[in-house]
């Protein structure tokens, strides 16, 4: 029995930067054979973006690229040439899944539409991930993660609980906008492969990043249509805890239910202010949050965030420290779950990397191969898989196609 969940799937990736590569990374880390197609010379643009090892820019030492491309093979191919496209089509013939993130217009101009590709491989699942999808007036608009976070409706609401509207709305931190779109696209892709193995039928998936991001705030969006509620970043969700400042950082405390509130009051030593009528039930505590929070902050000020975290959790209160990356890397919980794995890379050396948020009992995620060097698998793929001779490969290299 194979010890990897998706080892029966062959995936081709024609993507750049974060979103598309994250989508196929999810598949690769679960065992799918992923061949990443990069433009000759520069490769995936993520190779040009930091963080770089020791802050020295180098295309094989980008932490961003190393993170997003584990367990994949890399080949170089210029799909701008007709020979390059012929080769791509040979690869598509053998693939179960083709994930691409190029502008819809470009794929059309290159003759790489699903309509054409399914003639070569009717079982193919093709996933196109684009900013606004393949249809609609914005289909050719250009947008980066930040633009999309604002197009998707959550940006306008952040930072939540803003004191006023004088400052600009912001996107969420990290790579959230791109990664969630890659993850969501991977769901549709795996639904398509499941269906393909049942019916023998391939299909096309039009994944719109804007649509994905909108669904992440679907409750906020639908609230306008159903309840007429217009939301802004002034909004104070009920007992949505504000990060409260303690001695060495911030802590989040959710005391949502009456039981949780009573427990918190007890831990605070039953202060007299807590007996105020206006804090007597959850809706009132919500309405008077601005008066309530300073009292709690006053109480927790002398404590350290981890001290509070364990103290509150041991008393069945949902609290958590506001962690930094440093906190997370040193978290005993993460260590015990093996969330970070050591990966050996020929250029970047041995580095810890975050792995995956789930543990499969029979087919655990394994980072067996570090992110590939640019074109490191050219020979294996072109000669091994497609049967080109070494002379032909040299010729393709010479002409700049590979």
């Amino acid at each position: 029995m194979p010890d990897k969940a998706l080892s029966h799937l062959k995936v081709l990736e024609l993507c750049d930067l974060v979103c598309g590569p994250y989508c196929t990374k999810l598949l690769a880390d679960l065992g799918a054979e992923v061949i990443k197609i990069e433009p000759p010379g520069i490769g995936d643009k993520a190779r040009q973006r930091g963080p770089f090892l020791n802050d020295i820019p180098h295309p094989e030492r980008s932490g961003l690229f190393l993170y997003l491309n584990t367990n994949k093979s890399s080949i170089t191919l210029d799909i701008g040439t007709s020979k390059g496209r012929d080769i791509l089509k040979q690869l598509i013939k053998q693939a179960d899944i083709f994930v691409e993130d190029n502008p819809p217009r470009m794929m059309k101009e290159l003759g790489l539409t699903y309509k054409e590709l399914k003639k070569i491989n009717p079982r193919l699942g093709m996933t196109s991930i684009t900013p606004f999808g393949q249809t609609g007036p914005y289909r050719d608009y250009k947008a980066f993660e930040m633009n999309l976070y604002h197009a998707g409706g959550e940006g306008y609401l952040l930072p939540i609980q803003s004191p006023d509207l004088s400052r600009e709305p912001v996107k969420a931190g990290g790579l959230v906008g791109d990664c969630i779109c890659g993850l969501s696209s991977a769901i549709a892709t795996l639904a398509a492969t499941y269906n393909m193995k049942e019916t023998g039928m391939g299909q096309y998936i039009d994944a719109s990043k804007q649509d994905v991001l909108m669904t992440m705030v679907l409750l906020e969006i639908a609230m306008y249509a159903n309840l007429g509620v217009v939301r802004s970043r002034l909004a104070r969700p009920l007992l949505m805890p504000v990060p409260m400042e303690c001695r060495d950082g911030y802590i989040m405390i959710s005391a949502l239910t009456d039981r949780e509130w009573e427990d918190l009051v007890k831990l605070m030593g039953n202060p007299s202010w807590s007996k105020d009528e206006k804090f007597s039930q959850w809706l009132l505590r919500h309405t008077h949050g601005d008066e309530l929070n300073p009292h709690i902050e006053e109480w927790l000020k002398p404590f350290q965030k981890d001290e509070l975290f364990h103290h509150l959790q041991e008393n069945a209160l949902a609290a958590a420290p506001v962690n930094t990356s440093e906190d997370l890397v040193h978290s005993a919980q993460m260590a015990s779950r093996g969330f970070f794995a050591e990966v050996e890379h020929p250029e970047a050396g041995k580095l810890k990397q975050p792995t995956a948020p789930y543990k499969f009992s029979k087919t655990p995620v394994k980072i067996e191969r570090a992110a590939p060097l640019l074109g490191q698998d050219n020979e294996a793929v072109y000669c091994g898989l497609l049967g080109y001779s070494k002379q032909e490969l040299a010729k393709l290299k010479e002409s700049g196609i590979i």
Partner: protein
């Protein structure tokens, strides 16, 4: 009607709250038959109130929040504190492909419905257990809601302005964890399809968000740098921010990634004199002086609406888009044409607007076929048709508050 991608897949859904419900909700939209196991003895809080706007609903079948994330699902009532209910739940698992739950680690085992127990009645069952910190590790017994697992994950620290406190985001973090759960189940389903083997999946909501901060984690691991929040700013791009526009709290996001785009932006702005300043002459200079640059750009953007600016800049090849409010989204022409919002008829609330699937599958469309179920709406189908119980027995178990 076309086939649905997950047609024939049945899920015994013990999930509740947002982080659980939306995981199987996504699979229901893809065509799986998702049977929600609920009880009047333990009502899903999202049926009772919305924590987002502090509003209590009049009954358990009156929640637009519950409706939005439980579309296409069925519902049965089973009071799992009763041993007979546990037996019935196992019978349902026996004819299901997947079981899913997001109680605190250990709670399902206590009920006699842990993975080992379910595997005994259905050896190839796939089971998803989703919790704040995961089912293993020293913090496994700690609980949490979205704001706390987002805080622990590192995401909260990275969200907000550089000179203001960290920000917990909206309830989106719950749905992001749920999306991870849906993906994990699908991966396990694909594996079972190929091999016949089921398995248990232990998902940590903390980790489901931590993976979205890979750049910050790698920067710490490689360089010892602890990144912090920085509003809309980017590692290398500038300008890269939201700019105030004409109107009330209207903003346009603009991102410039190349010299060509910078020149295009300057042209659209009417080539102002300041743009020729040496400090803005290359990408590095613009990044280093971005605060000043942002102020200068704002002097221009305040004269136009966010949609006007989007049109002008996109035409010139510059990435720009309004920061949309929930109200504006409904009048946006692209949103209308993509038909992401659909109307469903709910048995109690009647007409409800919901958001459907964010992808268009050409052969197996992911469609909203029904509203969320009312509490126990499908008792008869599940207990009668699927489990073959006579009506008299169902009635007796209702009287005994087993089916309750």
């Amino acid at each position: 009607m076309k086939r649905a991608a997950l047609q024939g897949v049945r899920i015994a859904d013990f999930c509740w709250l947002w982080a659980g419900a939306y995981a199987t909700g996504l699979l229901a939209i893809l065509g799986a038959e998702v049977i929600k196991i609920e009880s009047m003895a333990r009502v899903d809080p999202s049926r009772k109130m919305t924590v987002t706007i502090g509003h209590a609903f009049e009954g358990v079948d009156h929640s637009p929040v519950f409706n939005s994330i439980n579309l296409n699902k069925l519902s049965i009532k089973l009071n799992l504190k009763q041993p007979k209910a546990v037996e019935l739940a196992k019978k349902l698992v026996q004819i299901s492909d997947v079981a899913s739950q997001n109680m605190r680690p250990g709670a399902m085992d206590k009920l006699g419905l842990g993975y080992e127990a379910l595997k005994e009645v259905k050896p190839d069952i796939i089971m998803l257990s989703s919790s704040s910190f995961g089912a293993e590790g020293p913090l496994r017994r700690y609980g949490g809601y979205a704001p706390s697992f987002a805080a622990y994950s590192g995401l909260t620290h990275l969200t907000g302005y550089s000179d203001a406190p960290p920000n917990p985001m909206t309830g989106s973090t719950d749905l992001m964890s749920a999306t991870t759960g849906a993906f994990a189940i699908l991966a396990a389903l694909n594996h079972r399809q190929a091999t016949g083997q089921g398995q248990h999946i232990d998902l940590s909501s903390v980790e489901s968000l931590a993976v979205f901060t890979g750049d910050a984690l790698m920067d710490y691991i490689m360089n010892g740098r602890v990144r912090t929040r920085r509003g809309n700013r980017d590692d290398v791009m500038a300008p890269h921010n939201c700019y105030r526009c004409r109107g009330d709290d209207n903003w346009v996001s603009i991102a410039v990634s190349t010299e060509e785009e910078w020149q295009a932006l300057c042209r659209v702005m009417g080539n102002p004199g300041w743009a020729r300043d040496r400090k803005f002459s290359d990408a590095r200079g613009r990044w280093q002086n971005q605060e000043e640059l942002d102020a200068l750009i704002t002097e221009w953007t305040v004269n136009y609406t966010h949609y006007e600016l989007t049109g002008m800049l996109q035409k010139a090849g510059v990435a720009a888009f309004p920061s949309l409010s929930n109200q504006e989204i409904f009048s946006d022409p692209h949103f209308k044409e993509r038909k992401l919002a659909v109307e469903v008829e709910h048995p109690v609330m009647k007409k409800q607007v919901v958001l459907g699937a964010p992808w268009k599958l050409s052969e197996t469309p992911a469609e909203i076929t029904k509203a969320s179920p009312t509490m126990g709406e499908n008792n008869e189908y599940v207990f009668g048709e699927l489990l073959g119980m006579p009506g008299s027995e169902i009635k007796r178990l209702m009287d005994e508050q087993v089916i309750y």
